[in-house]
């Protein structure tokens, strides 16, 4: 087994081209190996010391979050908390302080768990993923990154280097909430993210909802705008969104929950995420994470 520490992106890409697996926090790779999920790869290259992968750059027509930015930073960074709040909500719920200080955004999305917390927020905020290899750079919509549980569509040799988000606009709000049974070291039973844009009168111009842990990958709920756009969020809109989320979910039964319970509660979470996103867009301060601020789940 070999282990190399890259200090530049070029070193990392070269190692990955030679078959090395990238490792940053190791909170999936190492824990998975210890639990017998998959043995550690023969060759590892550490990417956590590559400075450019740890940057958050805002301004211009894109906000760029480096792949090894960890969850502890996501939940406190003013750019993320101020403009991409759903992502901060999600990051703040991951694991424990120790997990959040080693686990990275790139690791979370590339691991491809359908129960990941950061995925649904990135979908509703229209994130792109930047993949680099020795052959060049490409970006793709994050919704196209996942194809099955624990799997991604990156080619061999490609490294996730950043997540790209559209610049913040006026009267935008987002939120992520999840069903959880305890307040730390928890995994989403189901989760939902919402992002909205309002007009000056408070009517919904644009709304998106995505769901975690109710399908083989993170899924976006179709037709949300038809249900809520053109007016302020009302009880009919909330109920319609909950119904849409429940009906489009295709959950499994496992130890954490039955399919029926997941289907019901993901509607509840979708409704609450949308509600919190609208309230934030209207200027209300709801602290990160919404789960704790509004007493959702084990909050």
């Amino acid at each position: 087994m070999s282990f190399a520490i890259a200090t530049t992106l070029d070193q990392a890409l070269a190692a990955i081209a030679d078959g090395a697996r990238p490792i940053a926090g190791g909170s999936d790779l190492v824990v998975g190996a210890r639990h017998g999920k998959a043995p550690l790869p023969e060759s590892l290259v550490a990417i956590d010391r590559i400075a450019e992968l740890a940057e958050i750059k805002a301004g211009g027509d894109v906000t760029r979050i480096g792949a090894v930015v960890n969850h502890a930073r996501l939940m406190t960074d003013p750019t993320v908390v101020g403009n991409y709040t759903a992502l901060a909500d999600a990051a703040a719920l991951v694991g424990s302080p120790a997990t959040r200080n080693v686990g990275t955004l790139g690791g979370n999305i590339m691991n491809g768990s359908p129960a990941m917390d950061t995925g649904a927020p990135l979908v509703v905020m229209g994130a792109q993923v930047e993949l680099q290899s020795t052959g060049g750079t490409r970006t793709l919509s994050i919704a196209h990154l996942w194809d099955a549980p624990g799997s991604n569509t990156a080619a061999a040799g490609e490294l996730c280097t950043a997540v790209l988000l559209p610049p913040p606009g006026d009267r935008c709000g987002s939120a992520y909430v999840r069903l959880e049974y305890r307040r730390a070291m928890e995994i989403a039973v189901v989760g939902a993210a919402a992002a909205v844009v309002l007009d000056e009168a408070g009517a919904i111009v644009n709304a998106r909802v995505a769901l975690a842990a109710v399908a083989p990958t993170i899924i976006e709920v179709d037709g949300i705008e038809d249900l809520v756009a053109g007016r302020a969020l009302d009880d009919d809109g909330r109920a319609a969104v909950a119904d849409a989320a429940s009906s489009q979910a295709s959950p499994i039964s496992d130890m954490r929950a039955s399919d029926a319970y997941r289907r019901h509660t993901v509607g509840v979470m979708a409704r609450r995420a949308l509600d919190a996103a609208v309230r934030r867009a209207l200027g209300e301060e709801i602290a990160v994470p919404v789960n704790r601020a509004l007493g959702i789940g084990a909050a």
Binding site: E180, Y181, G295
Partner: protein, 780 residues
């Protein structure tokens, strides 16, 4: 005796900052990480052990082929049932061998063990052991297990040795009943009758430290380092199964990383000792978290409780009948008393002239159940106290008033013929409710639920040695085991008070069966009451020695010598004194300052069974309670009605555990017991497949409560001053706080969703299902 330095107020919600400081002798080691646990030990030439576990939860064992494993490089010993004495063990019923011989009965049965030069080699060799099985039908349904024609977990049960009074038949490993008066006639006459079924799942002790054992032979004797709560019981198990005299087996416990009952009993010490003997080298076994979940015979038992209570319209309980089935798993472990204890908890601390309760511990092809902190009590209390709120509701009575009307008090008789002395139960109810009642209104979807509980104290044999060396510094050599509760650490306070010294003047030599007299271990909340008695007696004898020396030195009467502040002085004349260090220096060249203490333990109360009024079948001695403890927990919860998620916000906990010797340590036990209770109430579900194998044997899916989940806890101690069985009127303590929490939580949930939850744990999905009217209490 010197009184404690300060007397804190314990009868109002306690402010921890106002309590006397408690310097734990083991604190710096544990906090800084310098302390050594069993898994930290390394001996020269040490090998690593791995077990071969059963591949079926019930199967005939046809053959075990170790030839390939034995030939693998680095493998130094491989053992099966053929390689150790053919001894069946376990006190209640001798139903188990070290290694499965004819059959395997759960997935944690050990078929073979390997010791090799590395852990990887040991595991590879364990994988190379070839075992042939003939699968047998499994027994996992408690009610089906009792039906005629059910497969038997132990078809040969009649040939097993059993302890006196253990009532067995077929899959019933132990049966007990409590019968008083004529319950059926009284029930027929009752003005109201309420029935309910309550089903509790199994749960786990889950200590932070998975168990470890290291064994080394020298000169025909074996030293075993083990993460056990009960070193003397572990020694007894090794002696029985390997056929050794007690003085050839020494069990030492390094720092112990928690136990909660899960490390009571004899477990794997003999396996490792036998591996070390066969290999001629020391051997270390360290469990993975998965093994810690699946293998030990100390699972908290699942339970089905069917309860019926008859009432008068004024709210008086007139009769109770109940049937309790307990999932005993594949072997007896220490469960022979579980049915009787469960019956006591299902009866509850209530006045009752007529009752008939039958309880059966049932063999199944699941992990064996054994004593986890207050065995049978949290489930039994959850059932009966949920039922109690249903009784109050049937009469449209306030549930607190209903409890105050029916709960036992001084001079009352409960479900068995014990008349209670001055007890604090009524005060506990008032104090717990007051501690949690807010000044304003409760929030939306919030409510307060109340439950009462009880638990005995367990007087028993215990010994200690106290000595002062020639500089006046002390050693307490004790057989007691520190499980993290602080009870052994508190022995310094008792010795210091006897001798006029400070707790910090003593070191404690503990957890070594060769160094100290017997103690029952960290089990049954018995350490401080029993070993405290021994330490007080031993220190008192040293104090007598000091007083004689001081009397000669000061030319005064022995009766006038007072020991205080590190010196002996003449009463009324503090200036006429000599330091204890000076006396110790003199004694160091003479008779030495050393004494032992043990003393007979207090007796258990006799029950008034005159004229057959009370009849207990399968009596295991847990109906008449010495030092009975009482408690009330009042819990303020918020329920999310859309998801069923329950959040515990505030808890008021009031306890009569007799005189509190060390308030800060006692407070920690109450808080910890409550957190364990919340986990058992809400999140600690154990998932099984149809064959009885546990599916969630890990900390991600077996959901303990975390520090982040901790509610506000207000604790009150009621000290009625009677019935103490330990020093200064102490009763047991550490199990009692693990009794009433889950019950109180259910009563709070009921007020929000309009119906009780009939399955424990009350997971979010079960609460949601109950609120939708679809929870009937599922089979554990």
């Amino acid at each position: 005796m010197t009184p404690p330095v300060s007397t804190p107020v314990l009868s109002e919600p306690i402010d921890p900052a106002a309590l006397p400081r408690f310097d734990r002798a083991d604190g710096p080691d544990k906090v800084t990480g310098s302390g050594r646990y069993t898994a930290d030990l390394t001996l020269t030439g040490m090998l690593h052990a791995a077990f071969v576990y059963a591949e079926h939860s019930h199967a005939r064992l046809l053959s075990v082929d170790t030839s390939v494993a034995r030939s693998m490089p680095g493998v130094m010993s491989v053992l099966t049932a053929d390689d150790v004495p053919d001894v069946r063990y376990t006190h209640g019923t001798a139903d188990r061998r070290l290694f499965a011989k004819d059959a395997v009965r759960y997935d944690g049965d050990v078929v073979a063990a390997v010791a090799a030069t590395t852990l990887e080699k040991a595991r590879a060799a364990a994988d190379a052991v070839v075992v042939e099985y003939e699968p047998l039908p499994t027994v996992t349904d408690l009610e089906a297990a009792l039906a005629d024609g059910s497969p038997l977990v132990h078809p040969e049960w009649q040939s097993y040795d059993a302890a006196d009074g253990v009532e067995r038949s077929g899959n019933v490993a132990s049966f007990s009943s409590i019968a008083k008066g004529d319950a059926h006639a009284a029930m027929a006459d009752a003005e109201h009758v309420v029935s309910g079924r309550y089903v509790a799942d199994a749960s786990h002790a889950t200590p932070i430290e998975p168990r470890g054992v290291v064994a080394q032979w020298e000169g025909g004797k074996v030293t075993i380092w083990s993460s056990t709560q009960v070193p003397f019981a572990a020694r007894a198990g090794v002696c029985q199964t390997l056929e050794l005299p007690t003085n050839k087996v020494r069990v030492i416990v390094p720092h112990l990383g928690g136990g909660f009952g899960g490390k009571c009993g004899f477990h794997y010490e003999a396996h490792v000792a036998a591996l070390a003997q066969a290999a001629g080298r020391p051997v270390r076994l360290v469990f993975t978290r998965r093994e810690e979940f699946l293998a030990p015979d100390r699972r908290r038992e699942g339970m089905i409780v069917d309860l019926t209570t008859g009432l008068r319209s004024d709210g008086t309980i007139v009769a109770r009948t109940a049937k309790v089935l307990l999932d005993g798993g594949a072997y007896m472990a220490d469960g022979e008393f579980f049915p009787q204890m469960a019956a006591m908890h299902v009866a509850g601390p209530y006045k009752m002239d007529h009752c008939h309760i039958e309880a059966s511990l049932v063999y199944t092809n699941r992990q064996p159940s054994g004593s986890v902190r207050a065995p049978t009590a949290p489930q039994g209390c959850w059932a009966v106290e949920t039922h109690t709120d249903e009784l109050a509701a049937a009469l449209d009575m306030d549930p607190v008033a209903f409890r105050k009307l029916n709960a036992v008090d001084e001079g009352d008789e409960g479900c068995v013929g014990q008349i209670y002395n001055k007890i604090g139960l009524q005060d506990c109810i008032d104090a717990a409710v007051a501690a949690v009642t807010p000044e304003g209104d409760l929030g939306e979807h919030e409510s307060i639920g109340v439950a009462i509980g009880w638990w005995p104290s367990f007087p028993g044999a215990s010994g200690a040695i106290v000595r002062l060396d020639d500089d006046g510094q002390g050693q307490i050599v004790t057989g007691a085991q520190e499980n993290g509760t602080g009870s052994v650490m508190t022995l310094r306070q008792l010795a210091a008070d006897e001798l006029g010294l400070a707790p910090q003047d003593f070191q404690i030599v503990y957890q070594d069966t060769a160094a100290a007299p017997f103690d029952g271990g960290s089990s049954g909340s018995q350490t401080l009451i029993n070993n405290g008695r021994a330490v007080v007696a031993a220190a008192g004898r040293v104090a007598d020695q000091l007083k004689e020396l001081a009397a000669a030195e000061l030319e005064a009467s022995v009766d006038d010598i007072v020991l205080a502040d590190g010196a002996a002085h003449v009463a009324g004349t503090p200036t006429k004194s000599v330091t204890i260090a000076e006396l110790a220096a003199a004694a160091g060249g003479g008779a030495l300052l050393v004494a032992s203490g043990s003393e007979d333990p207090p007796e258990y109360p006799e029950l008034d069974t005159e004229g057959g009024r009370i009849a207990c079948i399968g009596d295991q001695g847990v109906a008449g309670w010495a030092g009975p403890q009482f408690s009330c927990h009042a819990v303020h919860v918020r329920v999310d009605p859309d998801t069923g998620v329950v959040r515990v916000l505030n808890i008021g906990a009031a306890h009569d555990s007799g005189t509190i010797i060390n308030p800060l340590a006692a407070l920690g036990q109450i808080e910890g017991g409550i957190m364990m209770g919340i986990g058992q109430a809400l999140t600690e579900i154990t998932h099984y497949d149809e064959a009885g194998n546990q599916l969630n044997a890990g900390l991600l899916e077996y959901k303990l409560q975390t520090a982040a989940d901790t509610p506000n806890v207000k604790v009150v101690f009621i000290e009625p001053g009677a019935d103490g069985v330990g020093p200064r009127g102490a009763k047991g303590l550490a199990e009692a706080p693990n009794v009433a929490t889950a019950a109180a939580i259910n009563n709070a949930i009921t007020k929000v969703i309009g119906t009780p939850v009939r399955s424990l744990p009350m997971t979010a999905e079960r609460v949601w299902a109950a609120s939708m009217g679809v929870d009937e209490g599922s089979q554990p």
